[in-house]
C-alpha cells in the first residue's frame, strides 16, 4: 500500500513538473526517488515492477516523442536504465535486510520457546510434567508429536506417554548410538553427565534435521535430559528418605507395642491366672473385680489395635475413590453417645448447627477421627469436668470443635501433639497411646480437611481441637 501510494505521489509530482514547468529531468529524478523508496520498503519484486511501470510512463508521456513508446536519443535511455538499476539495487538491499530481520525474528522466537520450555522443565517435578512441557514445545515449535520413556535402574525403560515407538526406543537403549531414525520417527537418547535417563522419540520432525537447526534440537534434548535426570534423582532421594522414616517408625512402633500391648496383657494374664489358681480363696467381690479388669483391659487392647490398624491404613495410602458423602453431624452424634458411656465421669455438652454437615469421607474413619479427639479430651482432663463439642457449617467447611477443661498443653508441645507417639510429660502414666491425634490428623487430611489444636484457652487453661472438613458439593455421592 505504502509503495503504491509513493508511486502515485512520485508520478503525480513528475507529471506536474513535466507539464507545468517543462522539466523532464526533474520529473525523471522524482521517479528515481520514488522507485528507490519503493524498492527499499517493498523489496526487490515490487521495486522492479514499479521501475518497469515508471520506464513505460516516462517513455510514453514525458520523453520525446511524447505519447509514443520510442527512444529518441541516448540521453533518453539513461533515465530508463537509472530507474531500473536503482530499483534493483535498493530492492536487493532491502530484501536482504528484510530476510535478515525475519530470520532474526524467527531465531528470537525459537530461543524464546526454548527458554520457556527450559523454565517449565526446571519446574517439572515428575516425568509426567516433563512430558507435558515437551508436548507443548514439540507441538508449537518442532511441529512433531513425541513419546517419552524413562530409564530407572530398578525398572528399565518405562513409558511415560504412548508406546507406539517402544521398539525403536528399546533398540536405541540397546545400542551405543545417541540417536536412531526409523521412517519419520527420530529416537534420541536422554543422558546426563553420568547416566542414561531415558529416550525421547520425536515423530515427523524432519525440519529439525536441517543442520542449522541441529543446535536447537541438541539444546532441547539436553534440557529434557537434565530435567529428567533431576526427577529421577529426586525419586531416589525421597525413596531413601521414606525407607529411613519407615525404619524410624518401626522402631518407635515396636517400643510402643511392647508398652501399650504388654500392659493390658499383663493385667489380663495376672487376673485370669489369679482366678484360676485361687478361685476358692478369693471373695466374690474380688473375683468380679478381677473379671471386670479382664474385660476392661481387653477393650483397651482393642482400642489400641484399632489405632495400629488406622496407622497401617494411613501408611498404605487411602483411596479417595472409596469415600462417600457422610453427614458429619450424624457421625459425631453416634460417637458422642458411645463416649458418654465410656467416660461417665465427664460431662459432654454439645452445640450443633441446624441441618446435616455433608462431607466426603469414609464413614468408619470419620467416626474414628471424632472418637479419637473426644477420647483424648476425656483422657487428659479431670473427672467431673466438661467437654464441649460444637459443630456447624462455616463458609464452605464443616467445623467441629472439641474443647476440654484440662490443664492445657505447653506451647512447646503444642506443635507436636499431632505427631506419632507424642505424649506430653504431664500425661505420663495415663492410658493414651500417642497415636489417636496423629491418626485423626492423617484421616482428616485424607478427607481434604485440616485439624489444629489451641491451648491454653484464656486464663483457665484447657485445650480446643478444631477439625474442618470441606462441605461436599451438590451431586457428589
Amino acid at each position: 500500500m505504502l509503495a503504491a501510494a509513493l508511486f502515485v505521489a512520485a508520478t503525480a509530482v513528475a507529471a506536474v513538473l513535466a507539464e507545468e514547468f517543462a522539466r523532464p529531468l526533474s520529473s525523471a529524478l522524482a521517479y528515481v526517488l520514488g522507485v528507490t523508496l519503493i524498492g527499499a520498503v517493498g523489496g526487490l519484486r515490487l521495486g522492479l515492477l514499479c521501475a518497469v511501470t515508471a520506464s513505460l510512463i516516462y517513455n510514453f508521456f514525458i520523453s520525446e516523442p511524447t505519447f509514443r513508446f520510442a527512444i529518441a536519443s541516448a540521453d533518453e535511455l539513461v533515465p530508463l536504465l537509472a530507474f531500473n538499476l536503482c530499483a534493483l539495487t535498493s530492492g536487493l538491499l532491502a530484501g536482504r535486510l528484510n530476510d535478515r530481520a525475519r530470520e532474526a525474528e524467527a531465531a528470537r522466537r525459537r530461543l524464546g520457546a526454548l527458554f520457556e520450555v527450559s523454565e517449565r522443565l526446571q519446574a517439572a517435578a515428575d516425568p509426567a510434567a516433563i512430558s507435558l512441557a515437551v508436548a507443548e514445545y514439540a507441538d508449537a515449535v518442532l511441529e512433531a508429536s513425541h513419546e517419552l520413556y524413562t530409564l530407572r535402574s530398578s525398572h528399565g525403560l518405562t513409558p511415560v506417554t504412548t508406546t507406539a515407538f517402544a521398539d525403536l526406543a528399546a533398540e536405541l537403549h540397546g545400542s551405543d548410538e545417541p540417536a536412531l531414525r526409523r521412517g519419520a520417527a527420530l529416537a534420541l537418547r536422554l543422558a546426563t553427565a553420568d547416566e542414561h535417563v531415558g529416550v525421547l522419540v520425536l515423530q515427523s520432525a524432519a525440519a529439525l534435521e536441517a543442520p542449522e537447526r541441529r543446535p536447537e534440537l541438541d539444546a532441547f534434548v539436553n534440557l529434557v535430559s537434565i530435567a529428567l535426570g533431576r526427577c529421577l534423582l529426586l525419586e531416589r532421594v525421597s525413596e531413601a528418605e521414606l525407607v529411613k522414616r519407615s525404619e524410624e517408625l518401626k522402631t518407635t512402633l515396636l517400643s510402643s507395642v511392647s508398652h501399650d500391648m504388654r500392659t493390658p496383657l499383663a493385667a489380663i494374664s495376672a487376673s485370669a491366672s489369679s482366678l484360676l489358681s485361687f478361685w476358692e480363696d478369693l471373695d466374690p467381690p474380688v473375683r468380679t473385680d478381677l473379671l471386670r479388669t479382664i474385660g476392661e483391659q481387653g477393650d483397651r487392647l482393642n482400642r489400641y489395635t484399632e489405632k495400629l490398624l488406622g496407622l497401617a491404613r494411613l501408611q498404605g495410602g487411602l483411596d479417595v475413590e472409596q469415600f462417600s458423602v457422610v453427614d458429619a453431624a450424624e457421625a459425631l452424634g453416634a460417637v458422642l453417645a458411645r463416649v458418654r458411656q465410656a467416660s461417665p465421669e465427664h460431662e459432654f455438652r454439645k452445640e450443633l448447627g441446624p441441618g446435616p454437615l455433608l462431607v466426603r469421607a469414609d464413614p468408619v474413619m470419620l467416626e474414628q477421627v471424632f472418637h479419637n479427639v473426644l477420647e483424648n479430651a476425656a483422657l487428659y482432663s479431670p473427672a467431673r469436668s466438661a467437654v464441649s463439642v460444637r459443630a456447624a457449617a462455616e463458609g464452605g467447611a464443616a467445623v467441629i470443635c472439641v474443647r476440654d477443661e484440662g490443664p492445657g498443653i505447653p506451647p512447646a508441645d503444642l506443635q507436636r501433639v499431632f505427631e506419632r507417639f507424642t505424649r506430653s510429660a504431664s500425661s505420663a502414666g495415663r492410658e493414651g497411646s500417642g497415636l489417636g491425634l496423629s491418626i485423626a490428623k492423617g484421616f482428616v487430611e485424607a478427607f481434604g480437611g485440616g485439624i489444629v489444636a489451641r491451648s491454653p484457652l484464656g486464663t483457665q487453661g484447657g485445650t480446643e481441637v478444631a477439625i474442618s472438613l470441606p462441605i461436599a458439593k451438590d451431586g457428589e455421592k
Binding site: G295, G298, N302, E306, L309, R313, S324, V325, V326, D327, A329, E330, A331, L332, G333, A334, L336, A337, K350, L352, P356, D362, P363, V364, L366, E367, K477
Partner: protein, 227 residues
Amino acid sequence: MTKSLRVLVVDDEPAIARVLEPVLRARGAEVFLAASAAEAVRVALREPVDIVLLDLGLPDADGKDIITKLRGGGETAVIVISARHQEAEKVAALDEGADDYVNKPFVIDELLARIRAAQRRLPSAAAAASLKTDKLSVDFATRTVRIMGDEVKLSPKEYELLRTLAEHAGQVVTHRRLLLAAWGDPATDPQYLRSYMALLRQKLEDDASEPEILLTEPGVGYRLALG
C-alpha cells in the same frame, strides 16, 4: 421352649469356639462346630440349624461364598462375624444373604442380642403383627406408630422405612434394601434416604442428634435398636 435353638459356629479359631459353645449351651441352645468352609457346609447339610455364626476369614474359602449354601431354603439365619473397617466386606456378605453381622471383638451380650433378633425373623417364628420396644410401637395392620404411647403421624415413605427396619428389628438393614423398600429402586440417590432418616429421627427420638432407636451402621445401613 418346645424345641431348642440349633446354632452352628463356624470359626477356625478354637478359642472362640471354646467360649461360645458352653455359653450358648447354657442358654439352652444345641451347638455344632465347624473349623472350615467345607466342614460348615457338610454339617449344615446333615444337621439343619437355625442360626449360623460365620467368621468370614476361613482357611479354605471366603466365608462369603458359602452363605447361600448355609442358608438352605431360608430356614437358617446367618450372622457374620467380621472385623471393623471391612464395611465393603460386610455389605457384600449381607447382599449374599447374610442376615446380620457382629464386629469382632464382641461382648457376649451383643452376640446374644443379635441371635435373638435373628430368631424373630426365622420362618418358624410367627410373623409378628406388631413391634413393641420400650418406647416405640408399630402396628403393621393399622400402620399405627406410637412413641411412649403417643401416636406419631408419618408420611408414606417414612412409614415404609420404619416398617422395613421394624420387620428386621435389632438387625442391620442395608442402604440398598431401604432404598428398594421405600423408593422401589436401589440406585436412588442415598441422599434421600439420609434426609428421610433425619425426619424419622426428628419424630421418634428424644434427641435426634444422638439417636437411641434408629442407629446408624456407618458405611452399611441402619439398625432399629430393640431395647
